[in-house]
Every structure is written in structure tokens, then in C-alpha cells.
Symmetry: C2
Subunit: 451 residues, 2 copies
């Protein structure tokens, strides 16, 4: 393959090269043989363009094109021509120009596809074939948006003077909360996969005041639902010198505003392709104490939520419905979850010590973020570890950060895949996850693999 570094034209740039000869590299998305003329939709990372192979222009290219199938990798050279407006097939989205092929070279062959890209697949078929299925334009759009979410999280927080750090995933303690964890054979010891970077991000507040990390976290719960994953990506932040949990909520509110603004600006064609409606983010997302939210939905929808220590999934959907109707917001903050439902480090509300300065952010009916103020006083933290029935020595590393002066602080964690799922509007979180793991699957079905 000759050097084409300075010669290759990306599909996105072809409309700017009308009348010029270009070289395009990419995959055959679709081939249509009209006898005399062969049409190819050629896909590269920037889009799809139609290529027309006319034997009168190149008999050789036309001969080579007989063999082509979807996913063949090609290098084509030809002239960029405008497409007659009445022939532009908007549905195919192959744009306003086409390439009149003068030269066609097969770089790599592909076997016959087991399914057409962009066909709706059964979830197991899809997951078994992700290396191929991810190439569909819809999946490209979903995971470009996922990438943009993580990037906007980093950019927004960096702009607010947060420092990124790398959190370890192998940990010595089973858990800081109630979640089940995976065990790792660690030389002669038992270790665990981190269920969150919580303890480390709090430690890092002592170092940089404001920190964030994008990190994989693990839950060994044996579920295979449409809203859970055993390995997922957590967008974690933590900040010192706060007044209370509302400072954290304000930063989160700001990020959501920034995220939707950026997607609206940078991902126009992805949004169009997915038919995505981006949410409007209120300047102040409506917030309700848990008890208030429960009262509201009991009254409005006849539920029996009041008195429960948490919102059921159904209650989350209802309060979101209420907030959307009443405040035109697809986001809602729920605060003041009971002490007993939150981890030991959660800050109790001085005015109502059975509740905490904690919050969840709900979006389109589900919790996407959980956070709050943390206990920063060393003695109070020790007392709470006692109260929870844990042993101080199991947390001695973490506790050192508090023994030597930790300012009032708090933070939150957002699930990347769940936020992606709710933004792009797919009904199973695995459709918003690259290479999801569940109790039956690591890439392929574990049963099939007989591991």
C-alpha cells in the first residue's frame, strides 16, 4: 500500500472537492449492482459517500467491483461530482456528491455478513457479534456520544479547576457499602475489584481539593437486567471546602448544561441519525426531599411511597413524570435519603439526623447520579464506622486522610452507560455499553465458552 497520508480525502470533505480527483479509503457499506452501473456506499470514520462505477470510465474497476461485498475495505480514486438533487436519497444519507470511480483497489476482503448492518438484532445475536455490529451507523453514533459525554465531564471539571487522578481497581477491602464484590486471586492473598473509587477520591481531596476520575467499577450482583451491568464506567468527582451537598449539585447541574450544549453543537448528525431529543437543563434543576417526593406521588398517582427508605423504580418514573409536567424538566434532584440507606461516610443533616445531606439525580425516570456531602470530621467518622459495625483497622489507610485535616467535602458519581442509555434512548443498558459483562457473558456467552 503506497503512502497516502497526504492524499486521502475523508468523506466529510468530499463536498468541498467538486470537480477534483480524490482518493477515498473505507468500507463498502452497501453495493447495488444495476448491471451497467455499480453503486457503492463507501463508509469511512467521517461518513458515507456514494461511488459510481461505470465500465465506460474504468472497465477494470467495474470488473473488480463484481466481487465486492459489504465490509470489503477499499481504496478508490475518482472525480467528485455533484448529485442531481432529485436523485439524492435522503434516507441513505450519502450526501450531496458522488465519486465517479477511475480506480478501485481492494485492500482487504470480507466474508459474507451474517446480518446487514443497521438491522435490528436480537440482543444476544447483537452482543455475540459486537465486533461487526458496532460498525453500524447507529452504533457509531451511540458510542461517539458516549465518548463525548466522558470528554465533556473532563473538560467541564478541568475548567473548574478539578484535577484528574487515576484510581486503583484492585482493593484490599471487600466493600465500603453493601454491594457484592468480585474476588481476585492476588498472589497469596484475597483482594477485590473496586465497587467505586470513593475512598480514594476522598483521600485525593486532601491533595488537590477538587478531583475527578473516570474509572471502571464492579458489582458482583448476579443480575441480567436491562438496567444493570457487572462492570461499568463511573464518572466520579469530589470537592473540598463546600458549604453542603448543594455545592456539589450545582457543579453537576452545570455539567449537564454544558454537556447538552456541547452535544447540540458537535454531534448534529449523530443526534439526527438517532432521532435524539436532547433535554433542556433548567438553570436550577427542581429538588425535593425524599419525603416530599413521596408525598407528591402518593397524592398524585395513588402510590404508597411515603415511609419507604428509598424510591422504587416505579416511584422514580412517577416523580420524573410529575417534574416534567409541572416544571418542564427531565431532571429532578431527590435529597435527604435516610441515614440507614446511605454509606457510613454520608453526612447527616443537623436538623434531621435520621436523614442525610445526600442526593440522587434522576433523569428520564432513572437515577443517573448519586452523591452528597461526606463526614469530614475524624472523630465523627470513627463513630460512624463503629455504628455501622465495621472495624477501624479495615479503613486505616482511608482514615489517615481525615486524621490529618480534611475540609468539608462532597462529591458524586454518574454512571456513564446509564446516562448514555437515557440520552440516546435505547431500552437496554447493554446497547449503550461497549463489551458488557453480565453473569452469563464476557464478550461471548460463558456457557458457550465453557470457561
Amino acid at each position: 500500500m503506497p503512502s497516502d497520508k497526504n492524499l486521502r480525502t475523508l468523506v466529510l470533505d468530499t463536498p468541498n472537492k467538486i470537480g477534483q480527483k480524490v482518493k477515498i479509503c473505507g468500507w463498502v457499506d452497501v453495493r447495488r449492482d444495476h448491471g451497467k452501473l455499480i453503486f457503492l456506499d463507501v463508509r469511512d470514520r467521517t461518513g458515507i459517500v456514494q461511488a459510481v462505477i461505470n465500465p465506460k470510465v474504468s472497465a477494470e474497476a467495474h470488473k473488480t467491483a463484481q466481487e465486492l461485498r459489504s465490509e470489503y475495505v477499499l481504496e478508490i480514486q475518482g472525480k467528485v461530482n455533484p448529485r442531481p438533487e432529485n436523485l439524492i436519497n435522503a434516507k441513505m444519507a450519502t450526501g450531496t456528491v458522488e465519486i465517479e470511480v477511475a480506480d478501485l483497489k481492494i485492500l482487504v476482503r470480507a466474508e459474507a455478513l451474517p446480518f446487514e448492518l443497521d438491522t435490528a438484532l436480537n440482543i444476544d445475536t447483537y452482543l455475540d457479534n459486537q465486533p461487526l455490529a458496532l460498525r453500524s451507523r447507529k452504533n457509531q453514533a451511540i458510542f461517539r456520544i458516549q465518548s463525548a459525554i466522558a470528554q465533556s465531564f473532563r473538560d467541564f471539571l478541568s475548567g473548574q479547576d478539578f484535577t484528574e487522578f487515576q484510581a486503583p481497581k484492585i482493593v484490599a477491602q471487600a466493600a465500603e457499602g453493601g454491594a457484592e464484590v468480585f474476588k481476585v486471586d492476588y498472589f497469596d492473598h484475597k483482594a477485590y475489584l473496586a465497587q467505586s473509587p470513593q475512598l480514594y477520591k476522598q483521600i485525593m481531596v486532601g491533595v488537590f481539593e477538587r478531583v475527578f476520575t473516570v474509572t471502571s467499577v464492579y458489582r458482583a450482583e448476579p443480575h441480567s437486567t436491562t438496567r444493570h451491568l457487572n462492570e461499568y464506567v463511573s464518572l466520579d468527582m469530589e470537592m473540598g471546602f463546600i458549604k453542603d451537598h448543594t455545592d456539589v449539585m450545582n457543579v453537576l447541574n452545570g455539567w449537564m448544561t454544558s454537556l447538552t450544549k456541547l452535544l447540540r453543537k458537535n454531534n448534529v448528525s449523530d443526534l439526527a441519525l438517532l432521532g435524539m431529543e436532547l433535554p433542556m437543563v433548567p438553570k436550577k434543576i427542581p429538588m425535593f426531599k425524599l419525603k416530599e417526593a413521596q408525598k407528591i406521588i402518593d397524592k398524585k398517582y395513588g402510590t404508597k411511597a411515603t415511609g419507604l427508605p428509598d424510591l422504587d423504580p416505579e416511584h422514580e418514573r412517577m416523580i420524573c413524570k410529575y417534574v416534567q409536567e409541572k416544571f418542564n424538566s427531565e431532571f429532578a434532584f431527590i435529597t435527604h435519603y435516610p441515614t440507614k440507606k446511605r454509606p457510613f461516610y454520608t453526612y447527616p443533616d443537623e436538623d434531621d439526623p435520621e436523614t442525610t445531606k445526600s442526593f440522587d439525580l434522576l433523569f428520564r425516570g432513572v437515577e443517573i447520579t448519586t452523591g452528597g456531602q461526606r463526614i469530614n470530621d475524624y472523630e465523627q467518622l470513627l463513630a460512624n464506622i463503629d455504628k455501622w459495625g465495621y472495624r477501624h483497622e479495615n479503613f486505616s489507610f482511608y482514615l489517615e486522610a481525615f486524621k490529618y485535616g480534611m475540609p468539608p467535602e462532597g462529591g458524586c458519581a454518574t454512571g456513564l452507560e446509564r446516562l448514555t442509555q437515557k440520552l440516546v434512548g435505547v431500552d437496554n443498558i447493554k446497547l449503550a455499553t461497549l463489551f458488557p459483562r453480565d453473569m452469563n457473558r464476557i464478550d461471548l456467552s460463558l456457557g458457550k465458552l465453557k470457561l
Copy 2:
């Protein structure tokens, strides 16, 4: 604690507020009691400023200040005064202004420190006490630089049209290379921690052509050396439609240039504090085939490297010395490692099939990056899996990406901690790692924890 969101002044901004009353929040870095006057160095995330507590200005603040120790968390209010130039202690680096304290509030107390921050510590004492020890200015600088390295990797590649993706860490296969791996109890199955995102990033080339990921990787080798970690962060990239491995090397060369430029611009005080000399990055980093490099050092330093399948650590140091003396470059590319020393997916050189289109990037005597062109032809890849004695079915998920058309592609992986170590100039990689894990340690010594 009252809301101070709009009131807090960061230390960095104090020189712009001479004559004004400000509020500073931070930690007591050092307290010096001169009887009448008490001096504090107050540290926040942006720097250190001197605070002067004069009983004539505030008797109450002076009384409170009697109790202060290092790492107490404070809120102080007072006037910003210029410091007399002859009194500015350059070594303390507390700047050109001081705060005349009118009000002093203790936010959180700290116990007496077991050691002074910025004292040189025994490595085990340091690691046992990272939550405290990381607060030293030197460690802040090291990990700010580490954060900047990861950010520059992302920014540079995003600017070159690479898309970030999230790589899974739980994998079904023991290894794609020779490294030892950690086992995970995965429900009723055995799974493993990924030794690299290699197979996934290659799959993603089929989706986005150019991808990168910043991801934790795992090596279960029972070592406790100054240059190895059992969990480290890999900066991985992979790109399609390449001519050969040199396209990858060019992108890497470009990133190194961009990285050093950014650090020079954005991390001035970190560089000064660490006494760091940033390397000059040549427009074209000198490159040598392995055999050539071996001949050179055998001739120049009397080693017996020629014929060996790899460079020993000593050889890496020598070729770096040679390249620095001869070409004034602290970087050197070594290419064409033998087929048998590289993984099954490495592209053999057509002109010398016992060698590969692979490379290592050496910097200041050690390998920081490894990469190359990959085999993209499906049949050739199958044949190589056979040759290596692996089973096709163990790679069937990965192979699907090649069965359906993969362009010529390659990539590389850079160890974040090792690059940090060599840039900042610390002699143990654990000093450039947040929360390092080795066979004897997860946060604390495993022996002590009796896990």
C-alpha cells in the same frame, strides 16, 4: 460554615489583591511562632501564602493560633500586604505577598504529623502514609504532571480525529501474550484481569478507524522492583489505514512534542519545584533496527548484545546514551524486534520475515512505549494463531473484526507511570504511582493486613 463561594480568594490570586481584604481557605503547611507574631504558611490547591497573626491586629486570632498545627484546616480573613523584598524567603516559595490576619477560624483539627511533609521518607513509610504524604508540594507537582500527561494524550489524539472508548478489564481469555494474569471469581466461571486493551482497541479500529483509551492493565508477575507495577495505567491508541508501523511512530513522535510543549507552558511552577529538565523532542526521533542498535553498542561499549532477541535493561541505557551523545535526543526508536519475541498479531516484515514491523520507544534509558503494525488479514491471522499454538475458538470474538474487513492498522501503548517517572526523575516507579499495588502491598502492606 457560611457560604463562601463568592468570597473565597485562591492563593494564586492574592498578588492581584494587594491592599484588599480577602478570605483564604486552606491547610496550615507550617506554623512558626515568634512569640509576639505567629507566621503560618497556608496551602490551598493553587499555592502557599504566608499569613501573619499579630495580637495587635486580632487578639482573638492570636489566641486561636496558639493551638494550630500542620494540616489544620483554616478559614482566614485579612488584608493582603506586599512583603518587603529582602524578607521574601525564596526557598519557602510563599510568594510576594502576605496576609495580615484579622479573623481566623479553625474548620478542622489535625493530629500531630508523624513526619514533616516534603521530608524524604523511606519508601515503605511513604507508601504506608500516602493519604498524608501525597499532600507535599513535590507530590502535588508529580501527580499534577501525571494528570497533564493523560490529558495531553487525549487532547492530542482527539485533535487528530481519534475517538476515545472504554475498554473492559474483566476478560475471558488468560492472555494474548506471555504475561501472567490475575484470576477473578466470576460467578461460576474463571475470568481474568486484562493485561492490555489490545484486542478491543483493534476491534474498535473497525468501528472508528482511530481510537484511544486510557485504561488500567494488570500483570500478575510476582515482582517488587523499582520499574514494575502489578496494576498500571496504559495509554493505548490504534489507527487504521496506515502505510506501516512508521505512521504510528509519527503520531507518537507528535504527541511527545505536544506533551513537552504543554508542560513547558502550563506547569511552570511544577517544573521549577521538581527541578525538572524537559526533554527536547526531535522532529524525527532517531530510529534503529534492533540489530543495528546491538551492533552499535557492542562496538561502542563492548557489550555482547548482537544476536539476542531483545535489549536488556543495560542495553537500553547504552543505546540511549549513544543516541543522546550522537543526536542530542533523549528519545530513541528501536524497530524490528524478532517475530518470536512479539505477540501473534504482530506484522512480519516482508523483506525479513523473522523480524516484525514493531517498535519500542526508549526515553532516558527505558522503554516507555511499545507498538507496531498488526496483521490485518484474516487468513494470515488464523495461520499465526496456529503457529503460536493457540486455539482459534479462544479468539473468535476478536477474529470477527478481521473476518469482516479490517484495514491495515497499528498502534502503541505507553505506560503512564513509567513516563511520569522518567519525566519527573524519581528513581522508583512507585513514587510516580497513586496507590501502587505490588505482591506485598495493596495500600498497606498485605502482611500487616493479614487478608
